[in-house]
Amino acid sequence: MNIDQLKTQWQRFDQKLQITQQLNEQLITSMLKERSRSRIALINRSNMTYLVLMTITMAFLGGILAGNPFDFRYTWQYIPYGILLAGVILAIISLIKSLLHFNVDLNAVNLQSFLQKTIAECEKSKRMQRWFGIMIFSAGLLTAFSFLPKKLENKEPWQAFAETGLMLFITLTIYFAAFRLGAFKDRRQAAFRDDWQELQQLRSLSADLRNE
């Protein structure tokens, strides 16, 4: 078999496809009702979920900073919540920007620019998730220290430090247990690995086009 024979074989396949039964309206309509499982749709859905969560978190943190429900006396006690709020605001801005700008018109983009855009968005989305995870972790740890002044006022110093240490230990244990029990692993790790592999494939395809 040579290239010409291959072409002839392809044309036979094409002829077979041309005479396939027409798709009925009901079938096409049912397809349009399905939720998209495309890469972009998934990123946008994930961004939308994060946006809702961030907005709720922002309202909650705003309430803590404005209402002082823990009777904080010193400004530094607010630092963990302040850091978290600043991070949440930045995340909201970034998510809104992503939702507004990642509206790719498939009609207007060729394969190369589409690959580049998708890669950029995948990376941005992953960076955001990683960054927010680190932020939650650090804020969780720092929060234990916010309650230290009140403890020092009411208890012996050793007791106050011991309780703070215990709080830190409990926080770390919860994070560790959650990690070990697969709270992150089962649901996300396989997905992260797939994402990473997919991203590598996209990168090599994009490089393949760019290098010519």
């Binding site: 074989q9 018109d105 086009l209």
Partner: protein
């Protein structure tokens, strides 16, 4: 708009079938990809103003979807889409003619990477270099270079069967 869209999809269904056959081995995957392509076409349909031919537009959307925009998710039990029962996308190996040639064609194309598949699809469908350049996003001269390389690769692959 719906009627015009359905007519357009129907008259170009063979083109979408070819993309699905090229990128998916499994019948269920082909159906899923077909559905995703139709969905993406519908979403970009309002922006299609006929600057390029309907074929070029469909190729763009279908290849973008097949290569970088399609991610297989495990479907929950009971959420089987309606399309699976009613849609049948022929496989290359079921084509009339020499079965051995069908197998060679399928296996040889299967050994190409996703970009090479896209280019060879356009070449086999006798698209002009200009159209290929517009769909893929590389220069016309690079289209020629790419096609020659893929043809050589295919020739070598065919020889091994």
């Amino acid at each position: 708009m719906e009627k015009a869209f359905m007519d357009m999809v129907n008259s170009n269904r063979a083109l979408i079938f070819k993309v699905c056959s090229l990128y998916c081995d499994d019948q269920e995957d082909r159906k899923d990809l077909f559905q995703e392509i139709v969905l993406q076409l519908w979403r970009s349909f309002p922006h299609f103003r006929g600057q390029s031919s309907a074929g070029t537009w469909i190729y763009k959307v279908a290849l973008n979807t097949a290569i970088s925009n399609f991610r297989k998710e495990t479907r929950k039990p009971g959420s089987k889409p309606l399309t699976t029962a009613e849609l049948e996308i022929p496989d290359i190996t079921s084509t009339r003619g020499d079965q051995e040639n069908n197998d060679v064609l399928k296996q040889a194309i299967g050994r190409l990477n996703n970009i090479e598949k896209a280019i060879i699809l356009l070449y086999l469908d006798e698209k002009s270099y200009e159209e290929m350049s517009e769909i893929i996003g590389i220069s016309i001269s690079n289209v020629g270079v790419k096609i020659n390389r893929i043809k050589n690769k295919l020739s070598n692959l065919i020889k091994t069967y």
